[in-house]
């Protein structure tokens, strides 16, 4: 077997092992928490995997069972937290409450996201954020949009337009260029209906 093939199979094995980890969420969250705690006092570049794992109280090698590097960890934190705050609450709270929770989350995590925007390009996360904003806009339209047009084209346009606007609004909110807003205003803008 050539070194290339050997290396290739070793990588595949590692990926399969990572995929098969049945008890990984707690460990991943411990690592994420340690990383976020370190980011409060240090810059991204100065934080090493050793630092993260020492803070988490887990042996260093375990990091690589879950993440390739610090960048993948950042992506996971972003995706996991938005999944838990948005996707997992779509069937549990109203669109209005979901918007309130979303702004509360970004307020609490503002310093982390400001850091994150500095580390990777804002566009990288902005594209991800739009996916989640789309879920919210769809939910708001389903819950409150009684007078939606039958035109599929127009509905798709409406969803795209408002998803982009909401993502942009959140980005400005995180960067302190904008104060939070009353969710009723957002719902009125998205649906054209005053829900009060």
């Amino acid at each position: 077997m050539s070194p290339f093939t050997k290396n290739f199979f070793a990588k595949i094995k590692l990926l399969v092992e990572r995929y098969n980890m049945t008890s990984s969420l707690i460990t991943k969250k411990r690592i994420a928490k340690a990383f976020k705690d370190l980011l409060k006092v240090d810059t991204f570049d100065k934080i090493s995997i050793v630092d993260i794992m020492e803070t988490a109280g887990i042996r260093r090698q375990t990091f690589y069972n879950h993440f390739l590097d610090k960048y993948e960890l950042l992506d996971w934190i972003f995706d996991n937290e938005l999944t838990e705050y948005i996707t997992h609450n779509l069937d549990f709270i109203s669109g209005k409450n979901l918007l309130q929770e979303l702004f509360l989350y970004f307020k609490q995590e503002r310093s982390f996201y400001i850091n994150l925007f500095d580390i990777k390009s804002q566009n990288h996360f902005y594209e991800h954020l739009k996916k989640y904003c789309r879920l919210i806009v769809l939910k708001v339209l389903e819950e409150y949009g009684q007078n939606l047009t039958d035109s599929v084209d127009f509905t798709n346009f409406l969803i795209d337009y408002h998803s982009n606007a909401l993502a942009e609004f959140i980005k400005d909110y995180v960067n302190k260029k904008r104060n939070t807003t009353n969710p009723d205003y957002l719902i009125m803008t998205i649906t054209g209906i005053n829900i009060k």
Binding site: T22, S23, L25, I26, K33, H88, F92, I93
Partner: protein, 339 residues
């Protein structure tokens, strides 16, 4: 499913009979569906709770010094009548009134309210609190919180029961109840729905290998059905819903009560609690008191509910740690304790 029974009509009376035979502190009223504490201190305010059967050991298992003075029961998932409750109030009243803990279910509230109204008309002082710790939602009601009384009710039994033991009057018990009840939150999941004895179908559909989040204790469906993945995924979802409710801060102090809803094995509960505690630790919470066991069931439902309560008053913690003779609190993994 096989349910151990002789005759349907003797189901509840046989259970009561066994409890009385095994616990010499407890006595059955001669005519009423009421079990009471034989050695109760008549100088303290009696605490009464109850409701439909099918939730054993609630509420009979919580009768004892420092918890309930008496528990009144109805048929399966059906509360006792207001007349039976009224007669129980008269029986328990020693002149200083009676304090009642009611679970928030429409039928229960209706029967207890009528009885309280009549008792007050007779001049009996009544204090009461309605437990409404269920933070799951009622499907098809635009995400309205269900607010029914679940296992968090047992914390009310213990803290109010301890206050009564220490000489609190009706007004003081009411104040404690009003401060405590809104702070308690419960949410759970099921791996299998309950089936009525000799019933052919479970109370709601849940395929093998699936989880229903946010179920109630009377066959109420949950808010989501998902394939089972792992204990930690279950614990994570439960913690996320409790976090959404409390918006807690790191280092906040909490009481934790983990309840077997019926048919979970101790082994499964242990695995789940291990995960649950780790997620709560990651959240930075200070869990000052943990109680795990079988407190309020829904027949043979397989599932677990998790109750949290922030410690707003140190008296709550002292009360939970205080001794009681109530068997279901002392020995929460035993069905019946032989005194």
């Amino acid at each position: 499913m096989t349910f151990i029974i002789n005759h349907n009509e003797e189901l509840i009376s046989s259970y009561i009979s066994s409890i009385i035979k095994c616990n010499n502190e407890l006595e059955k009223h001669t005519t009423l569906p009421l079990i009471f504490h034989k050695n109760r201190n008549i100088n303290t305010i009696p605490i009464l709770s109850g409701g439909g059967s099918g939730h054993e050991p609630a509420h009979i298992g919580f009768i004892g010094e420092g918890m309930l003075t008496a528990a009144i029961y109805g048929q399966l998932f059906t509360p006792p009548s207001n007349q039976e409750i009224l007669e129980s109030i008269r029986f328990l009243n020693q002149g200083n009134g009676v304090f009642i803990i009611i679970k928030n279910f429409e039928a229960d509230v209706k029967q207890f309210s009528k009885a309280i109204y009549s008792a007050r008309k007779e001049g009996i002082k009544i204090g009461y609190i309605i437990s409404h710790d269920d933070i799951s939602i009622e499907p098809n009601t635009h995400f309205q919180i269900r607010g029914r009384g679940l296992a968090g009710t047992i914390l009310l039994h213990k803290i109010i029961g301890n206050a009564a033991k220490n000489g609190a009057d009706i007004d003081q018990l009411t104040t404690i109840g009003q401060k405590l009840a809104p702070e308690i939150a419960t949410i759970g999941f099921a791996t299998h729905a309950a089936t009525l004895p000799q019933g052919k179908q479970p109370l709601f559909d849940l395929e093998d290998g699936k989880i229903s989040y946010g179920i109630g204790i009377h066959g109420e469906k949950g808010y989501r059905i998902v394939p089972f993945q792992s204990s930690e995924i279950l614990a994570n979802e439960i913690v996320n819903k409790l976090r959404l409710h409390y918006h807690w801060k790191s280092k906040e102090k909490f009481i934790l009560l983990v309840n077997n809803l019926g048919n979970m094995t101790s082994l499964e509960i242990g695995v789940f609690v291990n995960d649950l505690l780790q997620f709560l630790e990651i959240e930075g919470l200070d869990i000052c008191y943990i109680k795990s066991g079988t407190f309020m069931t829904s027949l043979n439902m397989s599932g677990i509910s998790v109750t949290l309560c922030p410690i707003r008053d140190n008296y709550w913690l002292e009360s939970l740690k205080a001794t009681t003779t109530a068997f279901a609190w002392k020995y929460p993994f035993c069905i019946i304790y032989y005194l």
